[in-house]
Symmetry: C2
Subunit: 132 residues, 2 copies
């Protein structure tokens, strides 16, 4: 599983955690899905390889990146051309900055939530309720 | 608009903010919707009045409370009987504790995110991209 600073990019199943989502004035959202996708594009060098690595179909990945690119005045991911493997994609400086901010915030917020999650888990049912 | 410690319970439309969701081991989620619903039940004294105050249909509110109640070994909301208005509902000690933890965490996390949201808004398009 790909990791970021030694921890899983996407929290493992069955592990209590805090999910954080940045919501911009426009209503655009940047959450764990888009952050993991940016990270995967950075490490694989293309949207299609990133989608494949995440078990996500290409169309879904492309729509998320398109949404992200239209959230800002300049793109978060840009196409690369040429090279032996043909064209690919990489996060721009803006995309890298966004990813770094998201991961830092997620880590800091997780620290804040640790005691609360532990306290709530003491009263939690392992099977939980309907997921809504 | 109802407020909590002087700020809106639900962030106003068109205001950048951080959305936080507690995800338990079971996968159960406690986010801004359930927190606002617990708050509304506390102030109105029933699920139906809370739903009405939030412009939410009763079934939807009931399903959320049912999900919350089944996430823990004891309920977060309990029925009250009698009184001039007949039966109602109130958050239990567990429900009140959950709500207090969620609001405190949300406030602390919002402080962490303030500078990031400001920095990102400088590059954001007012209309944003597709909302996915």
């Amino acid at each position: 599983m790909p990791t970021h600073a030694g921890r899983p990019i996407v929290p493992e199943c069955g592990m209590a955690h805090l999910k954080v989502t940045l919501v911009l004035n426009s209503g655009s959202r940047i959450g764990p899905g888009k952050a993991a996708l940016l990270e995967s594009i950075r490490s694989t060098g293309s949207i299609s390889a990133a989608a494949r690595a995440m078990g996500m179909d290409y169309k879904r990945a492309w729509l998320r990146i398109d949404s992200l690119n239209h959230s800002f005045t300049s793109p978060a991911v840009e196409r690369t051309t040429g090279g032996t493997g043909g064209g690919g994609a990489i996060p721009t400086a803006l995309g890298s900055d966004l990813l770094a901010r998201y991961r830092r915030l997620e880590t800091e917020a997780a620290k804040l939530a640790m005691a609360d999650l532990e306290a709530l888990e003491r009263h939690a049912r392992p099977d939980g309720g309907p997921k809504i």
